[in-house]
Symmetry: C2
Subunit: 321 residues, 2 copies
DNA sequence: CACGGCTCTCGACAAAAGTCAAACTGGGCG
DNA sequence: CGCCCAGTTTGACTTTTGTCGAGAGCCGTG
């Protein structure tokens, strides 16, 4: 910044244009600058979240399917992204929708817990900018030195950056080699504080991982494919914030879980709004597990997944009756 | 509506345009309609609040003056509209700012109390549309059959309409001719309920009236100019939600006040966020009274008024020390 | 069943907004 | 002191968007 006439002018231009509804040339003459500059300021205003343009996501909850799912699974709200016909890329559609929903759920002063994964990073990537200085984004689990761009700390920081919020990173690895070390590290004041701060969050955002060789845990070297297969045969159904859960959504009793530094599931459940986003159709069982474990209050999925969930719920209640 | 393709199409067009960032012609070909129709849908989407465009009002709190006022008067937040040089119409500027601030303060699920007056109606008039179905707007005081468009019920309904919220009107006159009748009416279940519901509001919006012959109370025939002058000599300093207050912000002990049907000041004070907006420079004393009475937590005023308030506060503390 | 009245739709034009390369500005630095 | 750099500003051009009047489909009514 040369002399930073910026900030103030950007605000003024945005105000005159968006709040007063002046045309760009009128704004330009009011501020004694060229219209081209006004256009540039306005772009910056949009990019930095000084102006907010948001579209209601109602369309996606209005679906009867969404209502039925809310009832069947007792969720607070469900959004369903269409996948029929000519939607270019359903997974992008889900991410865009999730980003909008997320922004709709954030309130001033919130503390937000964010996990990691391809889905979470994709959401961060398409999220529009906002100006929420009094918001804090905290990382829900330890770090993983991955060659990918969706490392836990990157997910947290990118979302914090988009919101103009404070980002609170976790300075510990996700998995350690021994249980003792994990226990010792968890007892460290810095880590302990971070972990106990999780339940004070007002909103959480995560996806759920599959228990297979394609899992990020395997790709990042936290587990070998054969260990993963073992866990699967021991009842592993999904991955939440780096932890393995069983079909009931409980932490699986295994060495791996004991070596992980991450928010406890009870802390996650203490968060009022838990937004779960699932893009891949293959994550049906992991998602069921997360829902069974009460780890989800708000859900964003594609239409096919929604239908499967509903069919499953119907079959289950039928069997029970 | 011919066959109401509207709602759904408007939503879809808005989504593709604003959330996905497509151009209008791309949206048009996706939806198999002409670009002209897309443009029309988008306008409707903006007009109905399906898309929200809001600009941060930070610029107006950033002022040092605003900070000083917050401290001096212990208010939660102050917004100051510039009045210097080439601002076309300061009172419109204040109304536009107040509308933005108001929208920024509203949260989902809120219950909002609204009083009446020219200022409040002007704010409603420039307020942009939003889509907040779970919000309720309640009228804070009884009605006045005025020949103006800013009748209490109209203020309430207009704001409710803009927000797409529920409007709860008050079916009682503001002033009755005898104290007995007022007392009896206040005891009526319907009215009682409405009045007791006021303290459950999360947000209130009102201005403050002056005690002079120009007051709406006089114009609408609730008081004669000479009665008003009398009240003034008895210590009346301002009007809040149809009630006369003294310089300390307490209800003035007078027949008029006993004949009024309106929210009690204690109920108003029970509302967490009380947004007071003052446009006219002449309302200095009424505003002081309202602040003294703790009826204001959030304030929107013009720069001159802000300066006067600050000078007054400085003089007062100086005298005290 | 023909008639207005109604809204929705579209093509064509006018207006506004976006973009880009070139000119400019005000420090920092050799 | 003059040069360079990075960010800003601008005029001219292109693209995108807004708008208007005409036409088309639909319904209730006479």
């Amino acid at each position: 910044m040369a002399i930073r006439p910026a900030e103030q002018l950007i605000h003024k231009a945005a105000w005159l244009y968006y709040a007063h509804g002046l045309r760009q040339d009128q704004v330009a003459s009011q501020l004694n600058i060229s219209r081209a500059s006004v256009a540039m300021y306005l772009r910056k205003a949009r990019e930095t979240g000084i102006v907010n343009i948001s579209t209601s996501t109602q369309l996606f909850t209005d679906d009867v399917l969404a209502r039925k799912l809310e009832d069947a699974l007792s969720l607070d709200a469900v959004w369903i992204a269409p996948e029929n016909d000519h939607i270019a890329d359903p997974s992008t559609e889900i991410a865009v929708l999730a980003a909008s929903v997320f922004l709709e759920l954030v309130k001033k002063g919130d503390r937000i817990g964010v996990a990691w994964g391809r889905t979470v990073y994709m959401i961060a990537d398409v999220m529009s900018y906002a100006d929420l200085q009094d918001v804090t984004v905290v990382q829900l689990c330890g770090n993983l030195g991955a060659p990918y761009s969706y490392r836990p700390d990157q997910c947290t920081m990118e979302i914090a950056r988009r919101l103009n919020a404070k980002g609170l990173n976790f300075y510990a690895p996700l998995v350690l080699s021994t249980e003792e070390l994990a226990r010792a590290l968890r007892a460290e004041p810095v880590i302990r504080e971070q972990l106990s701060g999780v339940s004070e969050c007002d909103l959480a955002l995560y996806s759920v991982g599959a228990v297979d060789a394609d899992s990020h845990l395997v790709k990042c070297g936290a587990l070998t494919p054969s260990e993963m297969a073992d866990l699967r045969s021991q009842g592993a159904a999904g991955v939440i914030a780096g932890q393995i859960i069983d079909a009931e959504g409980k932490v699986l009793d295994c060495s791996y879980n004991r070596r992980v530094i991450s928010a406890e599931l009870a802390s996650l459940r203490a968060i009022a709004r838990r937004l779960v986003v699932v893009q891949e159709d293959s994550k049906f069982e992991p998602l069921l597990a997360a829902i069974a474990g009460g780890l989800c209050t708000h859900l964003v999925v594609g239409a096919r997944m929604a239908q499967r969930l509903l069919d499953h719920a119907a079959a289950t209640t039928e069997k029970a009756s």
